[in-house]
Symmetry: D2
Subunit: 366 residues, 4 copies
């Protein structure tokens, strides 16, 4: 059973359901001495609400964090850190009429089987995108710890539906624009096109997916564990906890399958007394270990399952065919909301591996 925890040293356990009282996280293994205050969480929590309200669900979740344990005199104590966000606006009645009609591409059907019908089905319950608010909470703590090692995690949108922003982004562009644009795409022109693509899906009563890329800077070489706790494997596993993720790739990824070794191998050179690679096809990970270069990964996000268009489903109570038109408030594209969640998830995984590798002290000194 279980399955709600991740990380061996920085162990993140999340709890709460879409329409429950709270969504929260318990972190066991956060080093003592990290300065932490409620306001540290606000910017990241707000990132889940895209700048253009037209492209998201009218269910606005303006979240604020509550601290329950693990902080004393403004610093972490080394004891479990428990954080929640309250769920205020839940219209559970939306879900009563359709509770025996599993929504296509949602977890409703297998969750019903898995839990014998006892699962909280309202809004997807434990499987809802809502619960990724807890990823964000843990990610804020992880990123504060990573900052102690000068490590930066930067996620942004690469594609939404047919719009593929293939340019090479500058670091400045990524840092400045990914939080400023509605779609979290660093290119302003492509952002506008992506916004249009979302609105077009919305008008059609439909939804749309995309690809999120994440760049991580300054991870030292040699982080990760062979054989089964590889850095890429653990990142992939963590990323699949985000609802709607259908694929994960590193560096050239699926493109590597079509390349020759002489093209795909990254040559080593010495630069400023350091070993570097002249290209970044490996995405910063070789043999499951970081190679000291930027870590680059991409995540495929499927179109949001909830659409207004009528769909074919079944009635689990009568085991007969049925039709479903989803009325609840939902998103037309969750890519923009998922960008900070990808960033948080990568941060959580990295800090765990850095602690495992002995790169983060058990107690931080100011």
């Amino acid at each position: 059973m279980a399955g709600n925890s991740i990380g061996r040293e920085f162990t993140v356990t999340t709890f709460g359901e879409s329409h429950g009282k709270v969504v929260g996280v318990l972190i066991d293994g956060c080093p003592a001495g990290l300065a932490l205050k409620e306001t540290d969480f606000q910017e990241e929590l707000d990132q889940r609400i895209p700048n253009n309200p037209n492209i998201v669900s009218p269910r606005m979740e303006k979240d604020t964090v509550q601290f329950w344990s693990g902080v004393f005199n403004g610093k972490t104590t080394g004891a479990p850190l428990t954080l929640t966000v309250e769920s205020k606006e839940t219209r559970s009645s939306d879900y009563e009429a359709t509770k025996t009609l599993p929504r296509p591409a949602h977890s409703d059907y297998p969750a019903h089987i898995r839990y014998g019908g006892f699962n909280d089905y309202r809004g997807g319950g434990r499987f809802s995108g809502r619960i990724t608010a807890a990823h964000i909470l843990a990610g804020v703590v992880a990123k504060k710890l990573l900052a102690h090692q000068n490590i930066e995690v930067l996620a942004y949108t690469r594609t939404i539906g047919p719009i593929n922003s293939q340019k090479e982004f500058t670091l400045t562009q990524i840092k400045e624009n990914r939080k400023a644009t509605s779609t979290r795409c660093p290119d302003l022109a492509d952002d506008a096109k992506m916004e249009a693509a979302i609105l077009s899906a919305k008008e059609a009563g439909d939804s749309i997916g995309g690809v999120i890329e994440c760049l991580t800077l300054n991870v030292p070489a040699g982080i990760g564990e062979p054989l089964f706790d590889t850095l890429d494997g653990d990142l992939a596993k963590a990323l699949f906890s985000i609802p709607a993720v259908k694929g994960v790739e590193f560096g050239t990824g699926f493109r590597a399958a079509q390349m020759r070794g002489s093209e795909n191998n990254d040559a080593f050179r010495i630069k400023d007394g350091q070993v570097i690679t002249t290209t970044q096809n490996a995405g910063g990970i070789m043999g499951g270990l970081s190679n000291g270069m930027p870590i680059i990964l991409r995540v495929a996000i499927k179109p949001t399952p909830s659409i207004t268009k009528e769909q074919q489903t079944v009635d689990l109570a009568t085991m007969t065919n049925a039709q479903l038109g989803i009325k609840g408030r939902h998103d037309y594209c969750i890519v923009p909301k998922a960008v900070p969640v990808v960033e948080a998830t990568v941060a959580i995984t990295l800090i765990d591996h850095l602690i495992r590798a002995g790169k983060i002290p058990k107690t931080l000194r100011s």
Copy 2:
């Protein structure tokens, strides 16, 4: 530390290095009462040697299993099962001359950093493809257990370099041809083209990658654990233990990012009193749980890092730039060899989740 184990209930720990005495596996949690004999392993071990010897390394590893513990009177006892294959043909001298020159795209450099130079560098040591022989051993046990539930795992080659075998394969074709063709592609015409593509890379002193697809039949609905031990997340993590894997996707995968919800959502219908989906875009997994339909995943395999062509590297002893021409016996394309490893890895992960879900008894009765 650690990292050499995977699985919570069917816990697989592998050991051994490329040029060590043995490569082996210790399985803790195998149910008691499973009939197991040495000959059960031979067909799968032999699958690692493709039918056409021209397309693989001249280092032929004809392996046979040795049992060390956990079997009594021809059946598993419930105690740890320890299995090895011996390593006979190792020409370690090949590696001495270049031991401070990390091979591009191999783990040599980060492993050197990670282990302070104490790692066994011969042939990649613990990071070598050779160690996937232990995946095969564990996979044979896992597949015998899965057979008790009528579950079949079938991996095969989809692409090698530029050759993409996009047809829909019949189940018969997959079952008959994937072991018969040199490249493990179920389509005979594409197999011939793929073979030619490998030989062309070989002639150029180069290497080539590909995509392996894996189809799993008869997994019941509701297998997997939310939130962080999802079935797709755990499969992805396990698959990244195979050297050269750079991406993993389920169902429509990265293609889903370009689709609309109305296209990508799989409609539910009742068929023969069972819930089915009319399309298989989810790849059999929704919300991290199996949905009762076939599980379909694809794995990107990069071109083999070892190539005969000269490459740029560095000398870690002198921290200067250097050139490297790899002389050791190596593969031009590891895709065919990796096919049974993908199959084994999927089987290991599935059996672990089936035991977690209480679907496999702790003691098997004949």
Copy 3:
């Protein structure tokens, strides 16, 4: 790091500090479908307050449970169950004056070293007996699950200081008296003597310890895991989480060391078609596995470290010798309070092993 979780299948993680907002528990792996309401917890929470207020700390903790996640329509959902009790009466100022003076026999000194001084030192923080309220919460859930298998866990006091209640108690006596007596001793005469012993220590500005025994009925044979996850080993480990425990023994325990095999071995007989043992020297566990007979264990509780008498300590700020007279409200004997905690802890460990052994369904049906 970490360390705040126990159990592989019924995973209990506790959080909170003595003077924090709450003490709580997150249970991951509770089967779905267990009926659970707030009032189920009250009787057990109240057991931590002995009937005679003179023998305990004036800090009265009348606790009530709050549910945060994992319950829907009055039943567990299979999602993480989060429960807390609020901490109302905390006089943190008691601890400011002495914050650099570690209290002898308390965790203050090693905790200060372990967490670099960042730990919440008020009332022992994370190391306080207060946090065992979370054991009680988890224990209530565990005992409700055990009741589905007809398993009963019954802890009671065997000795307090010099008073050793050595009689063989009847099951009726244990069930009726252990909750009715102030000291949780099933023998009324011994209870009175024990109460007097506590009051005598109180008058002397001193404290007193004791031994708690725990009897578990109806555990089937074959529960436990060789070699390192034995039932006795896991029970012992769990019991050492209770502050003040200094020893754990099973069956004849330390007395066995003085016996001969012919005296200590429990003979097997067939009774009513079942295998039984005619004596219970093994305490129900052989080779780390339950043998189907009652499980009997005993726990040594040291005298409460906090005493009014002046004690020698050191000042960690100045690294000089110092004197300490503890003024905070404290207990003269924690044995009575610890009895329900022992019971809860045994229940938590047993339910975990029963789930591991496949004896508890993943979903309960009414």
Copy 4:
């Protein structure tokens, strides 16, 4: 399932059965760079054979270690370390006649239930004392690592049957005599008496138990994890993996239950600029954390279950009462053999906690 592994960072998994080919250990997480050669193991392996052959089983197990993986150029590589001892002298036929007659106080009966009769019953199979040879192997590695921190683990015999050696031993006496005496008691006079007590039990066709004490020096303060991975809890759990252990206590242990706080509390003082305690009643552990003083624990060993005297048992094939006279070669007292096993087990647990606390580097430098 599972259960054959212990330790989070220095993860020890053992395998093999009493009458199998080998007994072995796989250590995952041993730091790289530790010098290790076969002869390092001999002295400890030989310690399992007491000096006086009359007091032990005629089954002499002169073991030598074999290395299978994880060592390269005489040093550990950071990869899994696999070590075995071969089992040469096994007379399995001794067990055939009685295979359905569970031996009283042995694991035979619950193991039969647990594994549905598939367990290797010969000599107790996986539950035999023989498998503690693997503890010894892991202990040698652990003690070599502990020596890097100047930590010493010293176990010795305190009592055998009625002979209780209660004197305070000097460190010299412990170090010189515990390996020299037959019974591993540091006091020569008491050793002779203990030997006589064993021979007296032998003559009576009976067996005898005892108490082993273990002293660990130079563990720094602050090692251990609250709340559930306490140092005392983890030591206790590990010690219960040794067959025949029925109790574990720390410092004053069960005696503490009869003491007052003013007697049992260890006063702090400053000595040579360090915090010390003037008495050692806590046994070096407070609140689950080491306090920097010697760790003192005691383990109760029951009399060996195997005795020559006839005993009452049952026939599991016919479910009828039966008689059993054990003919196999067995020990009259396993205390002397268990002494190095206790030492090894404490060492394994400590090194795991030291690595968890970040006190052992991931890579050792000469």
